[in-house]
């Protein structure tokens, strides 16, 4: 068993009514899917995992560090090892695509402008992303293109952990596009924590853990469902 990248122990959600605390962990390179009904607290759980929201009870460990013991600055530094795509794309709409992709490269990896440009070109080619779109403002892209850029931004700096909220929204309807997304995710060695139903498991291949964390309507853990990945 590998050392867990993130670990949730007896977590009680801020507005949880149910008595069942949440326990989950995910090892290096694995994929953890979090499912549950609307309003069950899936996004809140992701935010608890990243230290953006404090739980009512329990402990969160990220990369071996207990979050509640970290200072704000140390927590910020720890999060520089994470790539994120929330439900809304979280991009800067007045910046062009390349500038958005360069942001984690500058801040997380400390790359120079030239090195960042090279990395962006290489990564865009690998993801089969149209290079002409790199110089376009994000506000001028279609919703699907924006979501693609958001996933690329989460992965481009090769973070150790990637967190994706509402993964279904990021899966394109077009089969070719879906295959591209699958290939992009497969090429990343990062640990993935995704809010996604069990039906999404094939997208991640064999890396998916054989159980999926399901949240109940009251906010607690309903069950840890088994799945055939």
């Amino acid at each position: 068993m590998s050392e867990p990248v993130c670990e949730l122990r007896e977590i009680l959600m801020p507005h949880q009514r149910g008595p069942v605390p949440i326990d989950a962990w995910v090892g290096a390179g694995e994929v953890l899917l979090i499912g549950g009904a609307s309003g069950a607290g899936k996004t809140t759980l992701l935010k608890i995992l990243l230290g953006l929201v404090n739980p009512r009870g329990g402990r969160v460990r990220l990369f071996g560090h207990e979050l509640e013991r970290l200072s704000q600055r140390a927590l910020l530094r720890l999060r520089q090892r994470v790539g994120v795509a929330f439900e809304h794309d979280g991009l800067l709409p007045n910046w062009d695509v390349a500038e958005n992709l360069a942001l984690p490269l500058h801040h997380q990896r400390g790359l120079s402008a030239r090195a960042a440009r090279q990395r962006i070109l290489e990564f865009a080619r690998r993801c089969e992303f149209e290079l002409v779109l790199l110089v376009r403002r994000v506000a001028d892209l279609t919703g699907q293109q924006r979501r693609r850029v958001a996933i690329m931004r989460a992965l481009i700096a090769e973070p150790e952990l990637v967190v994706i909220d509402d993964f279904a929204a990021y899966v394109p309807a077009d089969e070719t596009e879906r295959e591209r997304l699958r290939a992009t995710l497969a090429a990343s060695a990062a640990t993935l924590v995704c809010v996604a139903g069990e039906e999404m498991a094939p997208t991640f291949g064999a890396r998916v853990r054989r159980e999926c964390l399901l949240l109940g309507p009251s906010g607690g853990a309903a069950r840890r469902g088994a799945m055939d990945a």
């Binding site: 935010k47 090892r81 795509a85 801040h107």
Partner: protein, 299 residues
């Protein structure tokens, strides 16, 4: 509070659901009670307290925003300088460069408007005219007018832009990726707007003096260079520094208030509500700062 005022449970004053609409239906005439004077007094005190608490909490928010953003200047977050420089230059371009003509024109008109009543009251003493023009224009009216132009053009744009970023979860995403969003997105606007106000303030003052000088040359037979010499004689170093301080305070106030109201946005429908609020608060802040400086310089 919302329910007590006939609104929905979220605190807004408009009914959102059928049950909310039922609650807001006026009660039949025979059920209405005469207002209890004690209750209305208590409510007035309660409202006053609410307003005070909200204002205090907003002031703390502004101070936190200032401290957290300014911390970026000393903590040297990796890669921050590149974006700080880039966004600051963009902000100066939008706020100062694109507005120079408008601000110059307004300054010129203000100069003429200041001279009109002096001319009407037949005030022709050069020293007195120079004193009135310098004090009224450079310390009070022109900086305030420049501040209002910047609030209208750039402040509201900042609120709308940050509001959009907030609804797009950009702040959460940046924070989750270990980037301090205040230092990345608020600090450059703070620096850009403050520097722009300093530049625009001096430009508007120059235009206002020119307007006043041209008017006096055309209609009061005061020679232009004599007018400027008299005006510059009135200005001393302390007053110039006070003007710079006032303009810098305007810039900081405008940037922080508009950024804060942008950050308070929770959904896209919130943006049109926050824009006028931010306008009023920052304009009031600038008026009070002008009053404070004028009193301080004259006491």
């Amino acid at each position: 509070m919302g329910a007590a005022h006939g609104g929905c449970h979220t605190g807004c004053r408009f009914p959102l659901t059928a049950s909310d609409m039922d609650r807001t239906e006026p009660r039949p005439e025979f059920e209405r009670k005469a207002p209890d004077p004690r209750e209305s007094t208590l409510r007035w005190i309660e409202d006053l307290g609410d307003t005070g608490i909200t204002a205090g909490s907003r002031l703390l928010d502004v101070l936190y925003l200032l401290a957290n953003s300014a911390a970026g200047l000393i903590t040297f977050q990796r890669g921050l300088w590149r974006h700080l420089r880039q966004i600051t230059v963009q902000q100066i371009y939008f706020t100062a460069v694109q507005a120079w003509l408008l601000v110059g024109f307004v300054g010129l008109v203000l100069g003429v408007l200041t001279m009109l009543p002096l001319h009407a009251f037949r005030v022709n003493d050069l020293d007195l005219v120079a004193q009135v023009v310098t004090v009224v224009l450079t310390h009070q009216i022109t900086p305030l007018m420049v501040a209002l132009i910047v609030i209208g053009r750039s402040g509201t744009a900042v609120t709308a832009e940050l509001g959009e970023l907030q609804t797009n979860q950009t702040f959460d995403t940046l924070l989750a990726m270990g980037l301090e969003p205040h230092q990345l997105l608020v600090l450059p606007r703070l620096v850009g707007i403050t520097l722009s106000l300093l530049v625009l303030g001096f430009w508007a003052n120059a235009a206002a003096m020119l307007g006043a000088g041209l008017y006096s040359a055309l209609f009061q037979e005061i020679r232009l260079h004599a007018f400027f010499r008299a005006c510059f004689a009135v200005l001393d170093r302390v007053q110039v520094l006070a003007d710079m301080l006032l303009l810098a305070c305007f810039g900081i106030t405008i940037a922080l208030v508009h950024c804060l109201f942008g950050l308070l946005v929770r959904d896209p429908m919130d943006i049109p509500r926050r824009l006028p609020q931010a306008f009023v608060v920052s304009a009031m802040g600038c008026v009070l700062l002008t009053l404070a400086l004028s009193v301080a310089l004259n006491v």
